[in-house]
C-alpha cells in the first residue's frame, strides 16, 4: 500500500511539472506536447540497449564448463558401475 502511494506521488509530481511547463511555456508548446511520448520511447530504447549490452558481456566461465563436463562423465561412470543407466550420450 505504501509502495503504491509512493509511485502515485512520483506520477503526480511528474505530471504537475509537465503541466507547469505547458502553462509557463519555458520551451515552446509544440515540444512540450510531445515530451511524455519522447521520454517513454527513450526509456524503451534504453532498456533495449541495456539488454543488448548485457548479452554482449555475458560471462561464459570456460574453466567451470570444462569441470562440469568432467563431473558429468565421472557421475555417468559411477552410476553405470552401480547398474543405473543414465541414458543417451
Amino acid at each position: 500500500m505504501k509502495h503504491i502511494v509512493k509511485i502515485l506521488a512520483v506520477v503526480v509530481a511528474i505530471s504537475a511539472s509537465w503541466l507547469g511547463l505547458l502553462q509557463t511555456s519555458i520551451v515552446s508548446q509544440d515540444y512540450t506536447w510531445l515530451l511524455p511520448i519522447y521520454f517513454i520511447v527513450s526509456l524503451g530504447c534504453y532498456g533495449l540497449f541495456m539488454v543488448g549490452i548485457g548479452l554482449m558481456q555475458f560471462p561464459t566461465c570456460p574453466q567451470e564448463a570444462l569441470l562440469l563436463q568432467e563431473d558429468i562423465l565421472e557421475a555417468k561412470d559411477f552410476l553405470k558401475q552401480r547398474g543405473v543407466d543414465v541414458g543417451s550420450d
Binding site: I37, L48, F49, G52, A65, E70, D89
Partner: protein, 91 residues
Amino acid sequence: MLQSAKSNKRTMESADRAVGFLLSLLSLSIFSYYTFWVIALPLFYTDHFVHKYFLPREYAILIPVFAGVALICFLCMFIGYVMLKSKKKKA
C-alpha cells in the same frame, strides 16, 4: 566429446554476442532517429531537403502508440493462452 562441447559453446557465445550487438545498434539508431525527428526537425526550414527523409510529424505519435497497444494486446493474448493451456492440462 569435450572438444565438440567447447566449440559448440564458442559458437553459441559469438551468436549471443552478435545478437546483443544488433540489439544495441537497433536501439541506438531508433533513439537517434526519434530524437532528430521530434527535437531537431522543427528547427529546419520547411523546404529543406532533409524533411523528405522523415515522415510527417503526426506519425511520431501514432507509431509509438500503435506499437504500445500492439505490445499490450500481445501480452494479454499470451497470458490468456498460457492460462487456458494450464487449465486444460489440470482438467
